[in-house]
């Protein structure tokens, strides 16, 4: 018996809380904070409580071809997405309690975060490309408003760039949906699987449909040829929003759909990944890994460097998804979750640095380890995890991805992944030495550690990274292996 995830509650609770937020803020601005945090915390705990039911008895189905009538997804992938969404949104909402803004705007701020979370849960629930598109657009609209929330010229610039690059991308998604409807008569994932397994539409038709859609989703995910908006939006957004954008928004809006497409390809061409769309995903993933990492080396702004690092890490996820073997897909999901933990921690720490020192320009920073020990500690753990240093969570997901690529006979891509992980370490060591290590310059001598509440989310996320790293064998046999088997 399959336990169904209560998607309606997952979507409706944050959405209703978002409606209530402005009214609560009118009574007292802090009520909006309390409301948002409560709604998201309850959601996170509920999602976590479903782990034993969904993950253990192997009820997950990769593509649910037989049960085309069921409305929602019920697999580990969607559950993982829900947990990630609620985790990052809760960290963002909790952090923004301490983020300075005019009291009159707290209601709107929290409402936007809740709308974003609700829409991303909708993305995880969708079994239909058009539903997916609808929720992706709602997520995007909430993020435009969040990026431009502070009345600064840079924020407007970041939001405009995001808008003008991703709005045409949505059009391409819809064009792909139209083509899918032309060939199959419907827009659901099941229709796509049917079209691919029957001989009705040839391989080239499937490749065109998925290619057009994948173009749109790659813009939304910020992969390399389409990454123009990513650094600008991340750099100019208010710091908690950067964490939300990098942690889940790009994943929910782009990477999730790309992995779903890869899963579809997996069902149809199980023997090998030699189809055009899978090849293209792998190529653009590898390109993102290398160019994102090379771009990060040259950055002078803390947040901008993190943005390029995000591009590079999303590249890992898409490269693994494109390879399409069960192990690679499991690695992609695992890295998706890990990236959400470490990049959220890093962006929140960059926010703390910005708040305490007034700048994110790395030329003006230095020696903060002595002044902000906890921020430095959690940043270092996150950095080491991103770079793939053994006991931490990032090492295991990268290892799975590289091993899976190697086993799939894609040695050159595996080599690129290993090489780029050295580059990751290189730019993060640059960042560490510029921001946290060395002698404290005089103008930073009076900087103090951030407030305890601001430190809490990064510390918890660092604990998650360490825990996943040490308990990995347990996690592997209970979550990753079943997932890999289920994709077979």
């Amino acid at each position: 018996m399959v336990t169904s995830l209560p998607y309606f509650a997952f979507i409706a609770v944050p959405a209703l809380a978002a409606l209530a937020c402005p009214f609560a803020a009118r009574i007292k601005p802090r009520y909006a904070d309390i409301l948002a945090n409560t709604a998201l915390a309850v959601g996170l705990l509920t999602a976590l409580s479903f782990i034993p039911e969904i993950a253990k008895p192997l009820t997950l189905q990769a593509w649910n071809m037989g049960t085309g009538l069921s409305v929602f997804n019920n697999d580990v992938f969607s559950l993982l997405m829900l947990i990630t969404v609620y985790m990052v949104a809760l960290c963002t909402a909790f952090y923004s309690i301490f983020h300075e803004m005019p009291d009159g705007r707290r209601g709107v701020w929290n409402a936007l975060i809740l709308v974003c979370a609700a829409a991303m849960c909708g993305v995880a629930a969708a079994r239909d490309f058009f539903t997916l598109y609808v929720f992706v657009e709602v997520t995007a609209v909430a993020s435009y408003a969040l990026i431009a929330f502070e009345d600064r010229r840079e924020s407007t610039e970041g939001a405009l760039k995001y808008f003008f690059l991703t709005a045409p991308a949505s059009t391409f998604i819809v064009l792909g949906v139209a083509l899918l409807m032309l060939y199959t008569g419907g827009t659901s994932f099941g229709h796509l699987a049917q079209a691919m397994s029957s001989s009705g539409a040839g391989d080239s038709a499937v490749a065109i449909i998925l290619g057009v859609m994948a173009c749109g989703f790659m813009v939304k995910a910020g992969l390399v040829p389409f990454h123009g908006w990513t650094p600008d939006a991340y750099q100019s957004a208010p710091a908690p929003v950067s964490a939300l954008l990098s942690g889940v928004v790009t994943k929910a809006a782009g990477v999730y759909a790309l992995i779903r497409i890869a899963l579809a390809l997996r069902v149809i061409y199980p023997a090998h990944a030699a189809n055009a769309v899978g090849q293209a995903l792998m190529f653009f993933g590898a390109l993102s890994i290398v160019i994102g990492a090379l771009g990060a080396v040259y950055q002078r702004d803390f947040k901008r460097m993190l943005a390029f690092s995000s591009i590079s890490q999303v590249g890992y996820i898409v490269l693994a998804a494109g390879a399409g073997t069960p192990l690679a897909l499991a690695g992609a999901l695992f890295h998706l979750f890990n990236h959400a933990t470490f990049k959220t921690a890093l962006f929140l720490n960059s926010a703390a640095v910005e708040k305490q020192t007034g700048t994110t320009d790395m030329r003006k920073l230095g020696g903060l380890e002595a002044r902000m020990p906890w921020t430095a500690l959690t940043s270092n753990i996150a950095i080491l995890s991103t770079a793939g240093i053994p006991p931490l969570s990032g090492f295991w997901s990268k290892l799975i991805i590289i091993v899976a690529l190697w086993k799939a006979g894609l040695q050159s891509y595996a080599a690129i992944a290993i090489f780029a992980s050295v580059l990751t370490l290189a730019y993060f060591i640059l960042m560490q030495s510029r921001v946290f290590f060395g002698k404290t310059p005089e103008h930073l001598a009076k900087v103090s550690e951030a407030r305890a509440g601001m430190l809490l989310p990064p510390i918890l996320l660092a604990a998650v990274m360490i825990a996943i790293g040490f308990y990995f064998p347990l996690l592997f046999s209970n979550l990753v292996e079943p997932a890999a088997k289920a994709f077979l």
Binding site: F130, V134, E137, V138, A140, V141, Y144, A145, A148, D151, R153, E154, T156, E157, G158, A159, L160, K161, F163, F164, A167, P168, S170, T171, V174, L175, V177, A178, L179, M181, L182, G185, G186, T187, P231, D232, Q235, S236, Y298, Q299, R300, D301, R304
Partner: protein, 106 residues
């Protein structure tokens, strides 16, 4: 039935492609933010036309129309937010020139 519909479909897709081209051209050549938004609008009109044309060719016009109406609603929301951004851009820079926004680079 499909045979009768197909020439219609080709014609509709021709116009959809024309709209996509005009939208992309409009976004590429103009610096004015409002014209860029008009380009986005043209692109989404192309997508709606393509959806309805595909629905008609499949004999499933009901689904296509409901999807198209949902998309129109969404697109209005997206454009409203975009116009809000343009208004803010005008307040901050005193013009609607995209090239005034060149502070973020590197």
């Amino acid at each position: 039935m499909l045979e009768n519909m197909l020439p219609n479909l080709y014609l509709n897709w021709f116009f959809a492609a024309l709209l996509v081209f005009s939208g992309i051209y409009c976004m590429l050549v103009s610096r004015n933010l409002l014209r860029l938004i008009i380009g986005v609008e043209l692109l989404s009109k192309a997508a709606i036309l393509a959806l309805v044309a595909c629905g008609q060719a499949m004999g499933n016009l009901g689904l296509a129309q409901s999807i198209a109406i949902t998309m129109i609603v969404l697109e209005v929301v997206v454009v409203a937010v975009g116009l809000g951004l343009v208004v803010r851009a005008y307040r901050q820079t005193g013009s609607v020139d995209m090239w005034k926004f060149d502070r973020l680079k590197g």
